[in-house]
């Protein structure tokens, strides 16, 4: 136990119901977030399995097309709002106070509400699976007029989105207040670990973009039930207006999912390369640039709706610009590894895979961002392949890396390294078998969100489905590894990884219930190790 960790003998902690439902403890709330995210990852994953089973062969096999479309829609909503975002917020809850030497989040009660909204919001959403007309089936993007044909599920969908938005906005406000108000005395902004930086920037994106989505879905609601005509040309509105509103939220949302992942690998790669992060300041500026640019590129999701040519050009060039700060980041991660004393424990394996596979997803994104080319790719499996590279082998690989990296801090035990490596290699291979062929399917013209397809797409779909099933089964191994680690294993030291730096490694493992009840003294040595 280092000198920075305070004594924990007045470690009063509530028990039972009160501990989890009335919590004001960032670690407990973080744990709840992470468990919830993992659970939803499997719920959404089960839906993905249904999708891949249906697509295993051409023809309609298992489900009717309406249900298939419901699966596509709800899978996306769950994975985005139920798995990746809560996992990111869970990590933020657990790690930001530890990284900046704060006793807890700035607004601990609101923090509890941010979490507890999630299970209730998903109760609203998932209850639609059992309703007349089925679950929402118009795609997670909720485009009118199609989404207005949703049955009884429609108001539940809208209110679930509102509810989730409330949760995320409160979470974002909390993170901003924590980072700007609760840092240990002497820690400047440019000394914060990069994970903290990426999360504070993500929080700005959340606050600025989610209310716009809330407004947009409110308009859907009034269009359906109150006779407004926002998205009906017969009354002077325009269905495309919804797409503008949706993607004004939707594109920053992409970075809401991705930026915390950038932060995670920016913590892990230096630890296992045993070198400081290359270009710390440029990483911060690149993250901020990506965030700002993300508000000016939304219409690249809408190139084929009939935008004026000037709009198409503007959004194409703005989209190309995002490649610059992203390139800075990829360069910096590689430069961090350059001549490092590298070891490849599971967190590092996932992080290195992240850098490579996220870059592949970035390149296919560049292709999609070129207007004339997008006219061919739009709404094909190429898009599906693109965003799954970014989100699954990108965001989720980074989240897996984070889980392995910080599990020793959370549980006090080392996970089973051999099983972790098996989990990594199986995930890596299966996810590429799953998604790489989808590029070819898309380029050959297979449309997305269709349960049946032309015979010419059969082989690649079968390969893809096999990869999908393998990936799904592999993730059960992850659950086993986590449970095994929580139950016991080699005791973790305070500094669980040789090259790990930062305040979170100065407190014991497992981190006591309360940490930094008095602000830590930041010595020069500690400050140098922060990033």
């Amino acid at each position: 136990m280092s000198t920075l960790a305070h004594d924990d003998h007045h470690d009063h902690k509530p028990t039972g119901f009160k501990r989890w439902f009335f919590s004001t403890n960032h670690k407990d709330i973080g744990t709840l977030y992470l468990i919830f995210a993992l659970t939803m990852f499997f719920v959404g994953g089960a839906m993905a399995m249904i999708i891949r089973a249906e697509l295993f062969q051409p023809g309609l096999q298992f489900v009717d097309p309406q249900f298939y479309n419901s699966m596509v829609t709800v899978h996306a909503l769950i994975m985005i709002f139920g798995a990746v975002m809560p996992a990111g917020v869970g990590l933020a809850n657990w790690m930001i106070p530890l990284m900046i030497g704060a006793p807890d989040m700035a607004l601990p009660r609101m923090n509890n509400m941010s979490f507890w909204i999630l299970p209730f919001a998903f109760a609203l959403l998932l209850s639609t699976l059992f309703m007349d007309g089925g679950a929402p089936a118009g795609g997670w993007t909720m485009y009118p007029p199609l989404v207005l044909q949703t049955g009884d599920a429609f108001p539940f969908l809208i209110f679930a989105v509102h509810f989730l938005g409330i949760s995320s906005i409160m979470g974002a406000i909390n993170i901003i207040a924590t980072v700007f108000n609760m840092r240990a005395p002497g820690m400047t902004l440019m000394q914060m670990p990069l994970f903290v930086w990426t999360w504070v920037i993500t929080s700005f994106l959340l606050i600025a973009s989610l209310p716009v989505l809330a407004g947009g879905v409110t308009m859907l609601l009034t269009d359906k039930y109150f006779g407004t005509s926002f998205f009906d040309a017969a009354g002077g509105g325009d269905p495309v207006l919804f797409q503008h509103i949706f993607w004004f939220f939707g594109h920053p949302e992409v970075y809401i999912l991705a930026l915390p992942a950038f932060g995670i690998v920016s913590q892990i790669i230096p630890a296992f390369a045993r070198k400081p992060l290359f270009g710390y300041a440029s990483m911060v500026y690149a993250t901020a640039s990506i965030a700002i640019l993300s508000f000016f590129v939304w219409a690249h999701h809408m190139f084929t709706v009939g935008l004026p040519i000037k709009g198409e050009l503007f959004f194409m060039y703005a989209t190309m610009l995002i490649a610059v700060p992203t390139g800075v980041k990829v360069f910096n991660w590689i430069a961090t590894m350059w001549k490092g004393s590298m070891t490849f424990e599971t967190p590092m394996l996932f992080s290195v895979a992240f850098v490579i596979l996220f870059t592949i997803g970035g390149f296919s994104g560049l292709m999609l961002g070129i207007t004339p080319v997008d006219f061919q790719y739009h709404d094909t499996y190429f898009v599906v392949a693109h965003f799954h590279y970014v989100l699954l082998t990108g965001a989720i690989f980074a989240l897996m890396a984070a889980a392995y990296y910080w599990l020793p801090k959370w549980t006090g035990n080392m996970y089973d390294e051999r099983l972790g490596k098996i989990h990594f290699w199986l995930s890596l291979i299966s996810s590429n078998v799953l998604f790489f062929p989808q590029h070819f399917l898309g380029l050959a013209g297979m449309p997305r969100r269709i349960p049946d397809y032309n015979i010419q797409f059969a082989d690649f779909n079968m390969i893809s489905s096999i990869g999908g099933f393998a990936y799904g089964i592999t993730q059960l191994l992850f659950v086993y590894i986590v449970i095994k680690c929580a139950m016991g294993g080699k005791r973790a030291r305070a500094r669980s990884w040789e090259g790990a730096k930062g305040l979170e490694w100065e407190v014991p493992s497992p981190a006591p219930f309360h940490t930094f009840e008095t602000p830590p003294k930041l010595t020069k040595k500690v400050l140098e190790g922060l990033y």
Binding site: R19, F21, F22, S23, T24, A102, P103, A106, L107, P108, R109, N112, M113, W116, I117, F120, F154, F156, F159, A160, H162, F163, A172, I173, N174, A177, T178, N181, M182, R183, M187, I207, L210, P211, V212, A214, G215, T218, M219, L221, Y225, F226, G227, T228, S229, F230, D232, A233, G235, G236, G237, D238, H244, I245, G306, L307, P308, I309, E517, P519
Partner: protein
């Protein structure tokens, strides 16, 4: 940044979970109502009652903890940041509706009347070729689907009076703040009372204006894109003014009870910020919805 030695962490509280439940019940009741389930409205009422209970209880706890001197300067700063960023999120919510208004006026209506090239004027060519752009747009592209209206609310009538009322209320709340800072309790209460009164008079006038628009001008929410943007923008704003006036009333009640000191009165300031926010949104409404 932290300067004090000991941090403050609040006790566990039942309010977050009560708040979550109340929102869940409210949304559930609302969704059931939209699906024409009879029980929906009762569930909605229960949800709203729970929500009110949660707000009252949560704030009561925070107020008593604050009076007991539990909060540090740092907690105060966290509250300030929380309120500030909450208001930004509200700004972005209104931005969506203003965006819809600008989009309709700048793009969708001109395109529907045949302007532009590149495919987005196809609707004009093939569906409603007689449609002509105008604002307020009281002839719909498809008149059978939406209600024709006779006229719209002119800017320089009640809306101009309402602008004056809200601007004046922004001044009176500032006077109240100055009075509080000088520990002049009588002036504080008087100016706060004036602010609350101006707020509720605004809501009263707005309600009268709605009745006039709906009954005499036939301008309803069904009146095409003008009716949609008009009622959603002014409606959400009116709702925010009502909430703000209720919040100001609470502050008035608390100041009459002797709460707040000339140094420490964040609740007052938070509500004042909120009030200025609804004021600024109104200026946007007055200019872009009523005037030009």
């Amino acid at each position: 940044m932290a300067t004090q030695e000991i941090y403050y962490i609040p006790e566990g509280s039942k309010w977050p979970i009560v708040g979550t439940l109340s929102l869940f019940v409210t949304f559930l009741g609302g969704a059931m109502m939209f699906n024409s389930v009879d029980a929906g409205k009762y569930i909605l009422i229960v949800g709203l009652a729970l929500l009110t209970y949660m707000f009252a209880g949560w704030f009561a706890d925070v107020i008593s903890e604050s009076i007991a001197g539990k909060y540090s300067k740092q907690v105060d700063v966290s509250f300030r940041m929380g309120m500030g960023w909450f208001i930004l999120s509200e700004v972005m919510f209104f931005a969506a509706f203003f965006g819809a208004l600008y989009y309709a006026r700048m793009f969708s209506i001109p395109w529907l009347s045949g302007e532009g090239q590149g495919g987005h004027n196809g609707t004009h060519e093939f569906l409603w070729s007689s449609f002509q752009a105008s604002w307020p747009m009281n002839v719909m592209p498809d008149p059978s689907k939406y209600t024709q209206y006779n006229d719209v609310v002119p800017a320089f009538g009640v809306p101009a009076v309402n602008t004056a009322l809200l601007l004046a209320s922004g001044v009176t709340v500032t006077f109240a703040h100055w009075a509080l800072k000088k520990a002049n309790r009588t002036a504080l209460s008087a100016w706060l009372f004036a602010t609350v009164a101006l707020g509720f008079i605004f809501v009263y006038f707005q309600a009268g204006e709605y009745a006039h628009a709906m009954h005499e001008l036939d301008l309803t929410i069904n009146g095409g894109i003008y009716g949609s943007t008009f009622y959603l923008l002014t409606g959400f704003h009116g709702f925010h003014v009502t909430m703000g006036a209720v919040m100001l009333s609470v502050i008035l009640f608390r100041s009459l009870k002797g709460h707040f000191t000339n140094k420490d009165h964040f609740a007052f300031e938070a509500v004042a910020w909120y009030w200025h926010f609804v004021d600024v949104v109104w200026l946007g409404l007055f200019i872009f919805v009523y005037w030009i």
